[in-house]
Amino acid sequence: MDDRRLESIIGELLRAGVLLSAAVVTAGGVLYLVRHHADQVNYRTFVAGGPGIQTLPGIVQSAAHLNSAGLIQLGLLLLIATPVARVAVAAVGFALERDRLYAVVSLIVLLILAASLIHAT
């Protein structure tokens, strides 16, 4: 394992994550338009959307029921998870390179990300 190799693994991982997420979001979007294309929409005042799109268990549950909003939100969760996975892979990569300093730096970033995501959900 060297830096160049680690960088290209990370680059490919990011691209795969984005493609997967875009595919899920598109599927949810098509479903949404098929079912709701004629609905009147208005986003002038903010109203929180409820647990089905705001919490991790809620999103997974509504996506499993093929709820279009839940499916889109699942795709967006995959997108958010992509850079987090990147940091985790980098931590392992640095550890394999026996670069203790940067393995620790990566773990600190991972910890901040995890704390923020767990605190929020």
């Binding site: 994550g17 903010f46 992509t82 990300l113």
Partner: protein, 278 residues
């Protein structure tokens, strides 16, 4: 407006924003948020939530291409991400505290700075410097390709750069943007990292920074699937197209035009914020 019309209009606007954002290097968020709020009357909270996810998509999508060129420096990126993620969490928490009008004004001020940076196109500072003691200890210096060969570069002023990165993260979390422009300023101007290394490493960092505030946004409901879906898919498509034509485009003229557009948006955001119309 019907859901179908809204989706199509937002997708098209976002694709344009992503396209221009990729060509000028400023990212799609700076155009998407004003476009949604000013043109379509969408609440700021929905707009910044949708923008934040689009920022993660473009940053991650472009990273693979940048890595191949061999400019980005993952050690610098990872180290500075400690600052940007902490800043992003603070910014995202603040976004819920301050009112929409104030948020619009801060957004406008950020746009003013982006307009200035776009019009007064930055170039490499050169000549290269030696790393100072702290940068040496952190092994931040590396090599980058110049005319087919790899040349060494050093890094300086790590604490000041780290501090500014905290600010960049804060702006990102507060406004749902990538704040790539501020990240580049910190690396290129303050830390004396080569311009091309700064821009590609900044792109690399944007996704991680945005992910740090995404959890807060999600739990507050700022990320609404019906708004975020067309924004994310539009910006991503526009950005991919933009990075393909980047090579042939006359970037200088484009930056000038883009700068003037952003300037107009900045003024409109600030005025609307002050009048309480946003």
């Amino acid at each position: 407006m019907t859901a179908f019309e809204f989706t199509i209009v937002v997708w098209a606007l976002s694709a344009l924003a992503g396209f221009l954002g990729a060509l000028t290097g400023l990212g799609g968020g700076v155009v998407v948020v004003p476009a949604l709020t000013l043109a379509l009357g969408v609440d700021m909270k929905y707009a910044i939530g949708a923008s934040l996810v689009s920022v993660i998509a473009t940053s991650s999508g472009a990273a693979a291409a940048y890595v191949k060129e061999g400019f980005s420096n993952i050690r610098i990126g990872m180290f500075l991400e400690i600052a940007t993620t902490l800043g992003a969490v603070v910014g995202a928490l603040l976004a819920g505290r301050i009112g929409t009008h104030a948020l619009a004004i801060v957004f406008g001020l950020m746009l003013l700075q982006a307009a200035y940076q776009s019009i007064k196109a930055m170039s490499d500072l050169g000549p290269r410097v030696e790393s100072d003691t702290l940068a040496k200890r952190l092994r931040l210096g590396s090599t980058y390709p110049v005319d087919g060969q790899r040349e060494e570069y050093g890094v300086r002023n790590v604490p000041a750069g780290f501090g500014m990165m905290f600010g960049a993260g804060g702006l990102s979390g507060l406004l749902g943007i990538g704040s790539g422009a501020v990240k580049v300023l910190a690396m290129d101007r303050i830390m004396r990292i080569p311009f091309k290394v700064s821009t590609t490493t900044s792109n690399f960092m944007i996704g991680v920074t945005a992910a740090a505030s995404a959890g807060v946004y999600l739990s507050r409901g700022y990320i609404d699937p019906r708004v975020a879906m067309p924004v994310m898919l539009g910006v991503l498509a526009g950005a991919l197209l933009g990075s393909k034509v980047l090579v042939q485009a006359r970037v200088r003229t484009l930056r000038l035009v883009f700068g003037v557009v952003i300037l107009a948006l900045a003024i409109e955001m600030i005025v609307n914020g002050i009048m309480g119309r946003i």
